[in-house]
């Protein structure tokens, strides 16, 4: 009898935990539209996987994108995607201004890939605002590199081409 009571209480506690967990997950992932500054605001169709960018970097001609780093300069100086350019952190006004200046003269159909890789994707403050700026400027072929953890784990460790220096 006592065993059944204990088991019953355990089941109730487990159910309560499941309800709380469900509510938490629901609030996190279904609680309305993501903030415009969040990396989650970038549509899935505009995400580019590292292996795909690596393939594109080895192509010639129109398919080769302009790759722009929109994160910290200190990280860029340590390692950046070969051929990419530094424009400044998308979370800061100055960074967005530099991005604006860099793309202003380009045709709106230019293939542009943005990346940061400063921190886990869910925490990245830079790619969301940078992506939004380019879309607001009318660029129609903008992709963001999907770096789940950071540049080290998702690009450098995989042996994809890297350059160092400023």
């Amino acid at each position: 009898m006592r065993f059944s009571l204990v088991r019953g209480m355990g089941m109730i506690a487990l159910l309560a935990m499941l309800v709380v967990a469900h509510k938490t997950i629901h609030a996190q992932f279904s609680g309305g539209a993501p903030s415009p500054d969040s990396a989650f605001s970038i549509p899935a169709a505009s995400l580019l996987q590292p292996e795909e960018l690596n393939r594109l970097l080895h192509t010639q001609g129109a398919n080769k994108p302009l790759v722009l780093q929109v994160g910290s300069h200190m990280l860029f100086a340590q390692a950046h995607i070969a051929g990419s350019e530094y424009v400044g952190p998308g979370s800061q006004t100055e960074g967005l201004r530099q991005l604006h200046n860099r793309v202003a003269p380009l045709p709106r159909k230019t293939f542009i890939v943005l990346y940061c890789g400063c921190c886990p994707w869910s925490r990245c403050p830079n790619v969301g605002p940078a992506f939004k700026l380019l879309r607001d400027l009318g660029f129609t072929h903008v992709m963001t590199l999907d770096l789940a953890d950071n540049l080290g784990t998702d690009w450098v460790d995989k042996g994809y081409p890297v350059e160092r220096g400023r």
Binding site: S72, M74, L75, D149, G152, T153
Partner: protein
């Protein structure tokens, strides 16, 4: 990561102590502690920093800088203490979650020979100085740069935290959204080692 402890002769000392007691209960407790520690190290291994060769079980590269308050900061001068070396930046949301806890640990474990050292990877020192004041950091913070980043295997994602033992050897590294309980458990384990 589990190999770190396995290869460390000091890590076996607690086992000898338990064996000396010689009771089954003690052995069971040790087994349980070992399993917990193993799980802990496995978790740490999953969060290991990346980019280049691991620094685990190697002497921590020297850091000789001036901190944000203008005082000299020399990592070697902290030998004899367990050091938590935190690479952070003001734009790093995960770092901002961790740092108040580091302040608490500095207060709590400092008297036992624990020291937090912060290295800001911000491009602008003024931002780091402002946030340090706002968070009331009770430990030294210096600015990093790409050269220091490379010395530490490439700081290519933040936060990045190292635990360095009393002999100046790197014993754990955590990157990204690390589990703070795991870090605390590991630093406590290092504090009881000579």
């Amino acid at each position: 990561m589990s190999a770190v402890v396995k290869d460390d002769p000091r890590g076996l000392q607690p086992a000898r102590r338990f064996a000396a007691i010689g009771t089954r209960a003690a052995n069971r407790r040790f087994l349980l502690a070992g399993l917990l520690l193993g799980a802990c190290f496995a978790a740490i291994g999953a969060q290991t920093a990346s980019g280049t060769e691991s620094l685990l079980n190697k002497k921590a590269p020297e850091i000789t800088r001036t901190d944000l308050n203008g005082r000299p900061l020399d990592l070697a001068s902290f030998r004899g203490k367990v050091v938590l070396l935190d690479f952070w930046a003001t734009w790093c949301a995960s770092c901002l979650v961790e740092m108040p806890r580091f302040v608490q640990w500095q207060r709590q474990y400092g008297p036992q020979g624990f020291e937090v050292i912060g290295i800001s990877m911000d491009d602008d020192p003024a931002l780091a100085r402002k946030l340090s004041a706002k968070l009331r950091l009770n430990y030294p913070v210096a600015m990093g740069d790409d050269k220091l980043g490379e010395l530490y295997g490439g700081v290519l994602g933040l936060p990045l935290t190292y635990l360095i033992d009393r002999n100046g050897v790197v014993r754990a590294q955590f990157q990204g959204d690390a589990n703070l309980k795991t870090i605390e458990m590991q630093l406590k384990a290092l504090l009881v080692q000579p």
